[in-house]
Symmetry: C2
Subunit: 332 residues, 2 copies
């Protein structure tokens, strides 16, 4: 049987157990040109919260009753597809389920001798690509600039900061709690870390970025975005990647009160959606893999072992800030 | 005697009569390399409200007791400066006062046979330059796009819309009241006008810009900015020029709740400060003068005749939305 997580009801505010259905259906047979895979690792992403709302966005909402959308790595166990053989590992948007039948569209074979499957959901997957193109293209980073990243201990933030260090920048990470902050400075090479739970972010930014912020990479929105806006350097770039502090709001999103700093500082704020850069993923993947190889980029993954039944609870960890690095659910 | 308007106390919220002092001092003699001028026309600009607050911005605040900063056109009446002769008209940031002594720095002689003095404070002055560079450089306007401008019947808005029409764009103006809206469509060639006092702006934008907004030029902020953000086309540009709806707030600025539309639509929001383009003013001035000459750009000016004593009351007209086009105070 194929166990699956389906959207039962749209959440208002926080996602609750009753928003999900756990269902089972017989595992199908792959037809001509298709393969059957067994899920090895499921990605958990803050963006998932947005996919649950019935509103237009960069992807259509997950439909009620549909298997929850998720990136995952599967292992092929049967194939009628000439390019996929049993034992191959494949990454794609296969959903939260134990078994997957695919014709290979939107999927990509991965080399698990180079990196473990989970890394293809993290540093070598969407979060890595998002960090790379968000920082270098949308952020138009120049060597030696001052970079601030929020959600700095998360899947995207850890990579943003390390790429910025590769580029010779001064990097300040904003994260919640002393353990995450210590990780950033002691292990990942950030120049400074700000614990937003313990410090006044605005004052800390003034101290750590006295000449202002050239690139602010925002994963969180809310009060932290507003604090960063007060400290922009002239011609700064604010990369809008996410707003995890606002995703569970039942009330309207808190808009950035200090957005007129964009005017005063001739700065810009611009969104990144990683899919736009699909043609250039290979280039980014090569760069990131090279930096991993030289030790300039350390991969941080938070692996929860369990079954698809653990998906709802594991997803909550993102919104409670309990993960460090890329959060994945590894299926036994 | 030289009558002057000075800042007596910083306003909280709306500017009130008690925020100003009206003073008189003897008219000075121009020293070597200086000239003496008599003020003919004073510019009134929404940005003035920001200059009264004691906070860092793109210009230092007007100091308490200082003559109020303002652009104006003066006529030279005595000169020890080789390049300025009595009878010359000169535009500069000369302040709200009847007489001015200047060494010519930051000033520019104007040709009143080409356009009246007031136009050098409007279409051929800062508002014209702001519209031109905001729309074409920051907005990166491309021919045939859909442009929405708020504060559309104001000094900058009237020019933004007409330049966009010159560029073959579809132009929708947002303004307050039926008279301003009729001006936009009947006289200035806008394709549509939205009366924000009478209509639901979001719905009206859906009707008038069914394929979304490519460039939104914002002079007002607040609810109208938020409405425009919901209707952005992919890769839209939001030009942040001003936020007149927020300038008199005693409470924090209302941040744009819908800013995540920048992410969904890979759009950007960027500030314009016209001084950055000073080297290119001549080019913009030539273009605008040419469009005025061909009748493609109609100059709208709202001339109040009076004395410097009328400055405080005239300034209020901007915040009450009582002006149509560029507001100036012409001294008798």
């Amino acid at each position: 049987m194929n166990r699956q997580i389906r959207l039962a009801a749209r959440p208002v505010g926080e996602v609750k157990p009753e928003n999900w259905d756990i269902t089972s259906e017989p595992v199908g047979e792959p037809g001509p040109g298709h393969f059957l895979g067994r899920t090895r690792v499921v990605s958990l992403d803050p963006a998932m919260r947005g996919w649950l709302d019935d509103r237009p966005s960069y992807l259509p909402p997950v439909a009620l009753g549909e298997v929850m959308r998720a990136g995952s790595v599967i292992e092929v166990i049967a194939s009628n597809h000439p390019e996929y053989q049993p034992g191959d590992h494949v990454v794609g948007t296969f959903g939260v389920q134990e078994y997957v039948i695919s014709d290979g569209r939107g999927a990509m074979k991965i080399d698990t001798s180079l990196a473990p499957p989970s890394t293809y959901l993290g540093a070598l997957g969407m979060p890595g690509m998002t960090a790379y193109f968000g920082l270098l293209d949308v952020g138009a980073l120049r060597d030696g600039e001052t970079v601030v990243v929020s959600g700095a201990a998360g899947a995207v933030g850890t990579i943003v900061g390390q790429i910025a260090k590769v580029k010779g920048c001064r990097v300040i990470g904003i994260a919640g709690g002393p353990a995450k902050c210590a990780l950033l400075t002691d292990e990942l090479g950030f120049d400074a870390a700000i614990d937003y739970r313990a410090e006044d972010v605005r004052k800390a930014l003034r101290r750590h970025a006295p000449d202002g912020i050239d690139v602010y990479f925002d994963n969180v929105g809310g009060e932290i975005l507003d604090a960063a806006l007060t400290r922009l350097a002239m011609h700064a770039r604010v990369v809008v990647c996410g707003a995890i502090s606002q995703y569970n709001n039942a009330t309207p999103v808190k808009g950035p009160s200090n957005y007129l700093s964009l005017l005063v500082n001739r700065a810009r704020m611009e969104g990144i959606v990683v899919f736009d850069y699909a043609k250039r993923y290979p280039q980014a993947g090569q760069d990131i893999a090279a930096w991993i190889g030289t030790g300039q980029l350390k991969v941080k993954e938070h692996v929860v072992s369990g079954t698809v039944d653990d998906f709802p609870e594991t997803l909550q960890m993102l919104f409670r800030g309990e993960n460090v690095g890329k959060l994945v659910l590894e299926l036994a």
